[in-house]
Amino acid sequence: MTVKELATKLDLHFLCGEEQADRPVTGCYCGDLLSWVMSRAKEGDAWLTVMGNINSVGVAVLADIACIVLTENAPFDLPALERARQNRVVVLQAQKNTYEIAAAIANLFG
C-alpha cells in the first residue's frame, strides 16, 4: 500500500510531501515520545502522533518513517512544515483519533 492509497482510504489530508505519495507503507507505529518512537518505529511505518513540531520531522527522517499522520487534526507548526518540505517528509492530517486510525490501518493490512 502506498501513502497515497492510505490517504485516500482513510480520508487523510496532505499537509506536505504529496510528491512522495508513491512511497510504500509497510506498517504502523503510534506514539508521542520521540525517543521511544525513534527506537521502536520501523522503516516504512506510518507514524500516528499528535506531536507536530520540528523535532518530529527529525525523528521521521532518521527513523525512515513513510509518513507522519497527525491524528485528531493536531497542529503542525510552521517551522516543522518548512523542515518537512526540505526533507521531503510526508505529513498527513486525520480528523479521527489515534486508536481509530490505527484500527483502520490494521484492517487494511488484514
Binding site: S39, G58, L62
Partner: protein
C-alpha cells in the same frame, strides 16, 4: 584504508536545530553506501547524544570518524556532567524539565537508546566539568569506498 572525519558544533540555544547534525551524518552514510542497519544504528545513537547535549549541556561538539569497518562518534560537552551514570542509563529516568517533555522529549530513553544501538559506549563524565561520550558502531560487509 582511508577515514572520513566530520565535525559539528552543536548550538545549545536553538532547540529547533537539534538533530540536524545527525541528519547530515545519515545523508553522508547513505551516499557512501554503508550497511542500512549500521546507518540506522548510527542515526539513532547520534541523535540521542545530540539531543541530550542540547537539553542538558547547552550544546557542545560532535566528531564523527567513518571507516569501512567502523563509525566512531565522540560527543563532547562542558555541561553539568552526569551525577549518577548508572541511574541515567535506566530506561524512564530523566531530569528533563516539563517544557522539554512537552516537546516530546524526556522519556528517559536517551542513554539507554545509545547503549542499545551502539556496539561500544564509553561515558567519561565529571560533575561541573562536562561529559564525553564515545560511541562505536561496527559496519558489517561494507561496500563503501572511502
Amino acid at each position: 584504508m582511508s577515514i572520513l572525519k566530520l565535525h559539528y558544533d552543536i548550538d545549545g540555544s536553538d532547540f529547533t536545530r537539534a538533530g540536524e547534525a545527525s541528519g547530515k551524518v545519515k545523508r553522508v552514510l547513505k551516499k557512501l553506501g554503508l550497511d542500512a542497519e549500521a546507518i540506522r544504528n548510527v542515526s539513532i545513537a547520534m541523535y540521542e547524544g545530540e539531543i541530550n547535549m542540547v537539553i542538558h549541556a547547552g550544546g557542545g561538539e560532535i566528531d564523527v570518524e567513518i571507516s569501512s569497518e567502523l563509525v566512531t562518534i565522540v560527543l563532547t560537552d562542558h555541561g553539568p556532567g552526569i551525577e549518577d551514570v548508572s541511574l541515567a542509563m535506566k530506561e524512564g529516568y530523566s531530569t528533563a524539565t516539563d517544557n522539554i517533555r512537552s516537546l516530546g522529549f524526556g522519556a528517559g530513553m536517551g542513554l539507554p537508546n545509545i547503549k542499545k544501538y551502539a556496539n561500544e559506549v564509553a561515558i567519561d563524565t565529571k560533575v561541573g566539568v562536562g561529559t564525553t561520550i564515545t560511541i562505536k558502531i561496527y559496519v558489517p560487509d561494507c561496500s563503501a569506498e572511502l
